[in-house]
């Protein structure tokens, strides 16, 4: 069974190739079957492979499949090879299953789009690249997948390429993540010069042996990898591209910019956790980045008008939680939150897609309202998703993962009160913005007519994801609730376990610690109800009050990061490009062109078209030659 591993990324890649080659010859039905079918098959194979992995783990709790040697240059011979362990099993299952549900949803959501085939082409390429990323046994192949998903992200953000604004957003995403990618490739170079291999497991083993904990090289390598992770996962200070990435179709936002691609940074850090264990300073920075991000993005999500932008900021904020978990050595907590977040955030984006479609492309939540009766299925599934996002205690998966992160941020040996306070405030803000969306979108007066209702292929993925958003948390319950934690046991085969050894470990692990989280969430829902429940007249009075308005405007703009980057980077670079247009090199090149033109003018002046002139010149020439020969 495990030998089928290569099929998992190969199937979507084959689907992509088929769609490219047959592009114009396919009708929509065939394109949908190839696009969604290849990912569906891939999910089935993933189920077989990962199922057999879980039921009968191979020796060493990891399976390594080398297909062929990619290249062999001067002792550097990376493989095309796949490595399956508990971490990649989880990612593969989430990518293929959530990916398949989103493909299924897209066959209906995109059915009237003229770029239907192109859409599935890009989406299949994305799934293939993402699978390569998480299965790669060496960092170079991982980097190939990393760039592949970046390319697909760019292509799909600017999918509706007739609007220049969409193309601008795609470019922005590509360029901003490029900053992080540059750091990552530099990190690969550094690691290769230090340990002479890029194959992940031998590299980590060698690093563990040769790197002194806390040494400059370990910290540098970890920080460079962190740079790549920050870019891809939209963390401060490279988070500015993700809200703009919502220019793409909603399924893209669900799959790429919420469930899978943006968590590639989390995967990378979890995968190279040995390096971060060797570099406490880098770990501290990871935790700080996570905490700052989850707070900044949370407050920004609180004031957005655009439904998808609000969800985008919430994605940034939740990935901030994952980074915080990774930073305090709670690798497994971060990975757990990745899984639960993939379910409920994909659900939220897909539901948002239905809402926006139903209201004829209306994104403004203040123009929605009252959709509870019009779109009941969407109301229930969206509410489940929002509750999971807000970590509603016990009944949602978000509670179990987020509570674990909050506990780890305090109780782990790297944890402290600052991180804990950030995580608690973040949880409170998350509750506010989640239920702000629910109250504003589904309750109160209806402002816009519903013009289109979802059908089965859209509703089935919503319900499946809603069920997953409820039950998936139960596989890792906290010790004070029940002793049921098979997920932790499973992850222990690949990741270091979470150790509650910090100063406040006892409190953090206890039911008392969880009670703080629970009360914050419950109070948050209550305050959101007071502030935004439409039939209470507070909604506008609060957000329009003079004390709140300037702050809200500041948060709406994402804390001014775009404003600063525009002035610090974009405008100077544009200015320099304009100035440098006429530099010396340009003059040399222009000079060559000018010489050619001048020579052409001179020569063509002799081409008078007068036969008698040609004869005269020829006669003169012959006479000259004769004179020279005879009179010499």
């Amino acid at each position: 069974m495990l030998g089928l591993l290569w099929l998992i990324p190969a199937l979507p890649a084959a689907g992509f190739l088929a769609l490219v080659l047959l592009n114009r010859r396919l009708d929509r039905t065939a394109a949908a079957w190839i696009g969604a079918g290849s990912v569906g098959l891939s999910a089935l194979v993933a189920l077989l492979v990962c199922g057999s992995f879980i039921v009968s783990p191979p020796a060493g709790d990891a399976y390594h499949q080398v297909l062929w040697t990619w290249m062999d240059v001067a002792g550097f011979a990376p493989n095309i090879g796949f490595y399956l362990d508990a971490v990649s099993v989880l990612w593969v299952l989430v990518i293929t299953f959530v990916g398949f549900l989103i493909h299924l949803y897209s066959t209906e959501h995109m059915e009237h789009d003229e770029g239907f085939t192109r859409f599935f082409m890009y989406l299949n390429l994305f799934v293939a690249s993402m699978l390569v990323l998480v299965l790669a046994d060496n960092l170079l192949l991982l980097y190939l997948g990393w760039e592949g998903v970046g390319l697909c992200s760019y292509l799909l953000i600017s999918f509706w390429q007739k609007d220049p604004q969409n193309v601008y957003c795609g470019r922005k995403a590509f360029i901003v993540t490029r900053v992080g990618d540059t750091a990552l490739i530099a990190g690969l170079f550094l690691l290769f010069t230090q340990v002479h291999t890029l194959e992940i497991q031998p590299m980590l083993a060698a690093a563990q042996e040769s790197f002194v904990p806390g040494s400059a090289v370990a910290v540098a390598a970890a920080l460079l990898i962190l740079g790549g992770a920050i870019g891809k996962s939209a963390q401060v200070p490279l988070q500015t591209w993700l809200p703009d990435a919502m220019a793409g179709p909603s399924p893209v936002s669900a799959l790429i910019h919420a469930a899978t691609m943006v968590t590639a940074g989390v995967y990378l850090i979890a995968r190279t956790n040995v390096l971060f264990t060797l570099a406490p300073d880098a770990r501290l920075i990871v935790a700080i980045v996570g905490t700052v991000t989850l707070l900044l993005a949370g407050f920004s999500a609180l004031v957005q008008h655009d439904l998808k932008r609000a969800l985008a900021y919430s994605t940034i904020s939740q990935i901030g939680y994952m980074f915080l978990a990774l930073g305090v050595s709670g690798w497994e907590a971060g990975v757990f939150h990745f899984m639960t977040h993939a379910f409920f955030k994909a659900l939220l984006f897909l539901a948002a897609g239905v809402i926006i479609e139903a209201l004829a492309d209306e994104h403004d939540i203040f123009k929605m309202g009252g959709l509870r009766r019009e779109l009941p299925a969407v109301f229930w599934t969206f509410t489940i998703g929002a509750a999971a996002l807000a970590a509603l205690p016990f009944v949602t998966d978000g509670f179990y993962s987020k509570d674990l992160i909050i506990a780890t941020s305090l109780g782990s040996v790297d944890g402290n009160l600052w991180f804990y306070a950030g995580a608690i405030v973040g949880a409170f803000v998350t509750t506010l913005y989640s239920f702000r969306l629910v109250w504003l979108v589904f309750f109160g007066e209806r402002h816009t007519e519903v013009s289109r209702r979802p059908r089965r292929r859209q509703l089935v993925p919503l319900w499946i994801l809603a069920v997953l958003s409820v039950v998936s948390g139960l596989i890792w319950m906290p010790p004070w609730l029940a002793g049921f934690h098979p997920f932790e046991t499973f992850l222990d085969t690949a990741l270091p376990p979470i150790e509650f050894t910090g100063e406040y470990a006892h409190f953090a692990e206890s039911a008392l610690g969880a009670l703080v989280t629970i009360s914050v969430v419950v109070v948050g829902i209550g305050i959101a109800w007071l502030l935004w429940m439409p039939w209470r007249r507070g909604t506008h009075a609060f957000s329009e009050s003079p004390a709140v308005r300037p702050l809200a405007a500041y948060w709406l703009g994402g804390w001014g990061f775009d404003w600063v980057y525009e002035r610090v980077f974009v405008i100077p670079v544009k200015w320099f490009a304009r100035v440098a247009r006429n530099d010396l090199v340009d003059h040399v090149v222009d000079g060559i062109a000018w010489l050619n033109v001048a020579a052409w003018r001179t020569l063509s002046a002799g081409q008078t078209g007068r036969l008698r002139a040609y004869v005269a010149v020829a006669g003169f020439g012959i006479a000259l030659v004769l004179a020279v020969v005879v009179l010499r």
């Binding site: 078209g609 007068r610 036969l611 008698r612």
Partner: protein, 102 residues
């Protein structure tokens, strides 16, 4: 009968060549231009014959036969060009054919 020396024949050939060349330079009628080329060809032929007679060799006359054959071919091509020229440009003035000027 006074013998005709080589010098006389060559001077005559040079005069004929110069006349033909001058015509080529000054006349614009395509037919006359062709005739001028014929005169220049014959000047060359005369020089061959005279030189052959001077040294008692047959080569000069052989070369003249080649020149004659070539002249016939040249006239055939030249007149064909003249007919196409007349058809497309409605004139026989060589100066009208300047479409290829740079």
């Amino acid at each position: 009968m006074a013998s005709v020396s080589l010098d006389h024949a060559l001077v005559l050939a040079a005069i004929l060549f110069a006349i033909g060349f001058a015509g080529l330079l000054t006349r614009r009628n395509l037919i006359v231009v062709l005739a001028c080329i014929e005169i220049m060809l014959n000047a060359g032929g005369l020089a061959f014959v005279a030189a052959g007679a001077r040294w008692g060799q047959a080569d000069g006359q052989v070369m003249f036969l080649f020149v004659l054959a070539m002249a016939a071919a040249e006239v055939a091509v030249g007149l064909a060009i003249a007919i196409r020229f007349r058809q497309s440009l409605k004139s026989l003035d060589v100066d009208d054919a300047d479409e290829m000027k740079g």
